[in-house]
Each structure stands twice: as structure tokens, then as C-alpha cells.
């Protein structure tokens, strides 16, 4: 059980670091066992370092910075479990446009290996999509239309 856990944990750690670095343009993210000699008796710490800033525990970072760390953690777990499709519901709500743009880039890249269906209110995310669906409710029921990619999304 422990051996199996450690092998998987290292795999998740590696993809967490590489995804975090992509999401932050060169930042460093690390998952660390609080008690490496007896892993299950301790927790797992999440350390993050944004370019130009010192390394800190994720709990002391800002709302948006913690969001970025959490998304990297989620994507690392997803690449370990390897599902055929992913649904993400407004995970970019607290991100500024620079972070949304980097996230959109990472999702675009990963969408060549697995299907992504992402709900977002941010224009920057829409512009990177292969296809955009507009949902609206004129009054009595919801409807969906596929939006052509070339239109200027007017918010």
C-alpha cells in the first residue's frame, strides 16, 4: 500500500511542478510530505513560488495565487487518473486576465490528449476555444446555440 502510494505521489508531484511552472511562466510549485519517514501519519504541504517572489506555503498566498495552485493540483491529479473527458465549471472566477490566458493555453495543449468542456465567463478563455456554446434563457427555458468562432464576443 505504501509503496504503491509513494510511486503515485511522486508522479503527481512531478506533474504538479511542471503544470504550475507553465501556469505561472516559470514559477516553482512543490508538494511535500510533512513526515517523509512515515507518510500517512502526517499531511501534505503545498509550497508555491511566483516569479520574483519568495517561496511560501499556499495558505499564505493571495486568493488568485491559491486558485492557480489548486488548478495545477487538480490538473496533476487528472493526468494521473487519465479520464477521457473533463468538465471544469468556472475555475477561472478569481483569476486576472494574465493568469486566465496562461490557463487557457495549458488547457488548449492538454485538449490534444483528452477532451475538455470548460464553463467560463471570461473572454480570454472563449478566444482560445475550438468551439464556443452560448447558453441563454429567453424566459421560460434554457437553450444552447453554437457560436461561430469568428464573432467578436460582446459581453
Amino acid at each position: 500500500k505504501l509503496e504503491h502510494f509513494m510511486k503515485a505521489f511522486h508522479e503527481i508531484c512531478e506533474s504538479f511542478s511542471s503544470i504550475f511552472s507553465k501556469l505561472t511562466g516559470g514559477g516553482e510549485g512543490r508538494l511535500e510530505l510533512q513526515r517523509p519517514e512515515s507518510p500517512f501519519s502526517g499531511g501534505v504541504d503545498l509550497y508555491i513560488q511566483f516569479p520574483g517572489k519568495p517561496m511560501r506555503l499556499a495558505s499564505g498566498a493571495s486568493g488568485g495565487e491559491r486558485s492557480v495552485a489548486t488548478i495545477a493540483y487538480l490538473l496533476a491529479i487528472q493526468s494521473f487518473l487519465k479520464a477521457p473527458f473533463y468538465f471544469l465549471d468556472e475555475i477561472d472566477a478569481h483569476l486576472d486576465s494574465m493568469n486566465v490566458s496562461r490557463l487557457a493555453e495549458v488547457l488548449r495543449e492538454r485538449s490534444s490528449e483528452a477532451q475538455f468542456i470548460v464553463i467560463s465567463l471570461k473572454d480570454v478563455m472563449l478566444h482560445r476555444a475550438d468551439k464556443i456554446y452560448g447558453v441563454f434563457n429567453p424566459g421560460d427555458r434554457s437553450r444552447v446555440i453554437a457560436l461561430p468562432m469568428t464573432i467578436e464576443v460582446v459581453s
Binding site: Q34, L74, Q78, A83, F85, Y86, V118, I119, R128
Partner: protein
């Protein structure tokens, strides 16, 4: 494997029939608050066999059936999804697999596989072989990411142990 189509019939705010044809790559769904975006995710959880109505933001499964107010109440809700199975990761020898689920006002669910009635158990087993499950990490509900970022180190270890 990937999702090629979702069809909703009187599911939550989607009165009548609604069809979505999905791309294999990067699909983005947008629209105003309250338009029905998260209801689409609830529909996918529903057809994959989710029985906890809470996860679909309903206090009872019959609340998943369209109710537009003013007498426009449907009697049955139905969702079906089609999956490209050309890599045969779902152990059925067909290039396209369609699964469906309906629910009526008494709370009775029916499950379908390629148009024929089947059981929830059979569907969960088949989909599980392809890494697809209703409560999996591959579906991140609205607000779940914020809750995940408030985890303590101990809670993070507990959730990893469950996963691995």
C-alpha cells in the same frame, strides 16, 4: 474516447429537447448567470448514474424534471450522451456508444445502453473500465476549486490516500 453529443429532454431548466454536438478538443460554454450552464454538467452527472441529488443542486431527484412555473411542468426528464468508442476503451464492440437515463415524477430512474433498457450497475461497470464515473475528479463543479484550496495538509493527505 470522447463525448460527441449530449441530448437533454426536460432536464432542469432545459424544457423541451436540447442537443449539443461536442468537439473532440477544447469546448467552452458561456452565457449569463442563471442561463443553464451548470445544469449541463448536472445532466452529465445524472446520466453517468449519480444518485445524490445534492451533487446536482436539488433536494430531491424529481426536482431535476423541468418546471417552468405557470403550469409548464414536465412529467419525465431524460438525458442521453454519445461516446466515440473507436479505441474500444469501453468494452463494447461498437464505434459509438450511447447511454441514457430518465426519471419520472415518482422518482423512478430507467437506464439505457444503445437504446435498450439496462441497469445502473451494468453501466457503472462498463464506464468504469474507461475511467468514467459520476463523482470522479474529471468533473469539477462550480465552487469546488475554492473549497479544494481551503484544504488543510491532513485533508489533502486523506483525499490523496482515497484516490491512489
Amino acid at each position: 474516447t470522447h463525448l460527441t453529443r449530449i441530448v437533454l429532454k426536460n432536464f432542469k431548466s432545459f424544457g423541451g429537447v436540447t442537443r449539443l454536438n461536442l468537439e473532440r478538443g477544447f469546448n467552452v460554454i458561456t452565457g449569463p448567470n442563471g442561463s443553464g450552464k451548470s445544469n449541463i454538467i448536472d445532466a452529465v452527472q445524472f446520466v453517468l448514474g449519480e444518485v445524490a441529488s445534492r451533487r446536482m443542486r436539488a433536494s430531491d431527484l424529481t426536482e431535476l424534471i423541468y418546471d417552468g412555473g405557470g403550469g409548464q411542468r414536465a412529467t419525465v426528464a431524460q438525458v442521453s450522451i454519445s461516446l466515440d468508442n473507436s479505441d474500444r476503451s469501453i468494452p463494447i464492440d461498437k464505434p459509438l456508444v450511447t447511454i441514457g437515463r430518465s426519471i419520472d415524477r415518482r422518482g423512478n430512474s430507467k437506464y439505457f445502453l444503445n437504446g435498450k433498457r439496462t441497469s445502473r450497475r451494468v453501466l457503472l461497470d462498463l464506464l468504469g473500465m474507461a475511467g468514467i464515473s459520476p463523482g470522479g475528479y474529471n468533473i469539477v463543479l462550480q465552487g469546488a476549486a475554492t473549497r479544494l484550496s481551503d484544504l488543510t495538509p491532513q485533508e489533502r493527505m486523506a483525499s490523496l490516500k482515497e484516490l491512489i
